[in-house]
Amino acid sequence: MTQVATTQPPQAEPAVPIERAGPARRGRHRYARAVTVFVAPFAVLFLLFYVVPIVYAVVQSLYVVQRTGTYGPAQEVFGGLAQYRLVFSDGPFWASVGRMLAFGAVQVPIMLGIALALALLLDSGLVTGRRFFRLAFFVPYAVPGVVAAIMWGFLYSPNLSPLKPITSTVDLLSADTVLWSIANVVTWVYVGYNMLIIYSALMAIPTELHEAARIDGAGRLWIAWSIKIPLVMPAIVLTTVFSIIGTLQLLAEPQVFRSFSSAVSSTYTPNLTVFSLSAIPNFNLAAAFSVVLALTTFVLSFAFLKSTQRRSNP
C-alpha cells in the first residue's frame, strides 16, 4: 500500500503541461480548486453522517439529567464524566466485551481460514465452474443478517428443526452453546464476502510468479504457501480488521436470538446494551457506552494493524 502511494505522485506530475504552466502558483491554485471539487462530495457526506454524529454523541455523553418531582421535565446539565463512571462500573457491559473477544478469537480465524481456503481453491484452477462457485459462496452475504438469523433460529429450534436428530440431543440455544450457534450464523453470512476480497487479491498476482515457481519445481501447495498467501497478506489483514470491528458491534443476530433463546439477555453484546439503554430512553448513558465501545474497537483494530506492520517491516 505504501509503495503504491509513493509511486503515484511522480507519475501524475508530468501530466501537467509544463510549457503552458507559467508561474508555478497559478498551476497550484487550479489544482487546489480541482481537489476541492473532487473531495467536497465526500467531505460533506463524511462530515454530516460521520463526524457530526460522533461529535453529537460525545457531547451527549457529557450531559446528565436533572429534574424535580416524580414527573418533572428533564433538564440536561453538563455532568463531566459522570456517565463514563457508570460505564466503567457496569459489570454486564464489560462481561459482554469479554464475551465478544472470546467470540472473535475463535470465530474470526475460523471464518478467514475457510475464506482463504475457498479463495485458493477457486484460484488454483482445480475447480470447474469457478464463476458459479464464486457467486454461490457469496450469496449468503446478500441475505440480510436478520433474515439469516431467523432462518438459522428455525434450524436450531428443538421441535421445528429439520435437523431434529441433532437438535433433540444437543440444545443449540442453551447458555453453553448459543454463542457458538451465533458464531456459525456470522461465519455463514460473511465467509463469501471475505473470500471475495482475498480472491480478488489473488487475481492481481502476476502469473509470471506462478510460472517461475512452477518451472523451479514447486507444487501447488508450495506455491500457495510460499507465494500466494504472503502476497495476499494485506487483504487478509484488511478482512481481519473488518471482522474485529464487526465482532465488537454484533447486534442483529443476538437481537433476533433473544426472542427464542433463554440464554441471550438484553446485555449479551456491547451493542445490545446500547440498544437497550436507548429504548429506556437514556440517551446520555447510551452515548457514553457508544463512545467507549468505539474507542475499544479503534484501539483493538489499530493494535492489530500495528502488530502486523511490525512483522512485515522488521
Binding site: V52, A175, S262, S266, S278, A279, I280
Partner: protein, 441 residues
Amino acid sequence: MSALLRTIGVLLTSAVAVTACSSPDAAPGGTTASACAPAGDGPVTLTFTSWIPGIEQVVQAWNAKNPDIQVKVQTGPNGNGGTYQNFFNQLKAGNAPDLGQIEYDALPGFRVQDGLFDLAACDIVAQAKDQFVPWTWDQVSLGDPKAAYGVPQDTGPMALFYRADLFEKNGIAVPATWQEYAAAAEKVKAAGGYITNFSQSDVNQFAGLAWQAGGRWFGNDGQKWTVSLTDDKTTKVAQYWQDLIDRKLVSSVPPWTAEWDNAYNTDQAWTWVSAVWGANSIASGAPKTAGKWRVAPMPQWAAGETAAGNWGGSSTAVFKGSKHPYEAAKFALWLNTSEEALTLLNQKANLYPATKAGANLPALADGVAFYGDQKIYEIFAKASTQVPAGFTWGPAMTATYANASDGFKAAVSGKGTLVDALTGAQTFTVQTLKNQAIPVA
C-alpha cells in the same frame, strides 16, 4: 485544502455549539400553555402511529366522514418491539406524530420524558371521563384526577383459555383455583402435554398474574416513586410458578415464537392464562385446534374469590408538539367511544373496549366460532369488572421488563429463581431511575 479544513473546523465547532445550547433552551418547558382549541381555518391532517391489526380500515371509516380532519395512519411493530423507541427518538428530534398508540404500562415513561399532551385541557375529553370504566381512567390520569394523558382504548382482562377436548378426554376438571391448576398440571404432564409455558421473555403476562394476586409494583406520592417488585403478593406468585418450573410441569418454550405456536397447534400446550386479545393469538397461531378451545374465568388464589388480572390494553395519546390537539382529541374519542370504531376494532383485532357502554356492544354478544361458538366476551366482560384498581406502572418499564426478563430466562434455564430475578429487577429499576434523576424512595 487549508480553506476546506477551516470550513470543516467552523462546521464542527458550530455543531458542538448547537448541540450544547439546544438542550438547556428546551428544558424550561412544562409551563407552556396547553391550549386545546380548534384550528379554525381549513382542513387538518393528523398523523397517527399504531400496531393494531387492521387499523387502516378503521381510520378509513373516519376519513370518509371527516373531510376536514384527515388522519394518516402509520403502522409499526408492537410498542416494546420498536415503536416506543421510535416515539422516543421522534420526540427527541421534534418530529413525533400527532397521535400514537401507547399501552398503559408505557404512559408514565412517556410522561416522564415530557412527551405527552395533557388532554384534560380539551373539554370534550374531560367531559368523556364518565364514559370509561373507572380503573382505565386511572391508567391514563397517572395519579392526577384532573389530567388525561391519553384516551383509554382497550383493556386486557385475563381469563383461562383451555383445551376442552383434552381436559374432558383425560378426565381433568377445569381448575378454578391456582392449587387446582397445579394439580391439573401434573395430570396434563402425565398425559404427555404441558399445561402451559412460563412466559420468560414477556414479563407483561407475569405482571397480569401479580396484579390479580394484589401485587403493586410501583407507587408515586407526588414526591418520590416507590418500587416494590418483590412485595408479598408478587413473591407468592413467583414462588408458585418457580415450583411449577422446578417440577417441570410447565414448558420453557419462549412466547411469541413459531415454536410456541407449534406447541399450541400440536396439542403440546393445553392452557393459556391470557388477555381477551389472546383469543386472536391462539386462533391465528394454532389453526388446527379450531373449535376445541373454551374460555373459563382465571384461577383464583382462594376458592370463592373473584379477581382478574389485566394484561395489556392501550390508550391513544397525543404527543406534545402536536399543532392540532383539539382535532387529535376528537379523533381519539371517536376511535375509542363510537360504536362504529369499537365494533371494527373488535372484529379486526378482538379488542375489548375500555368504555362502560362498550360491554354492551352487539358484536360482543355473539359466539366465536374458534371457541366452539362460546360467547367468550361474557367471561371477559365479567373479568373486566373484577380487575383490582390501583395498579400503578413505573416510569421506565422498558428497563424493568428487560432486566426482569433476563432474570426469568436465567431462572427457566436453571440459574437462580424467579424471586432472584425480581430482586435483581428491583435493584436495576431503582438504579435506572436514579441515573435519570427520577426521585425514588
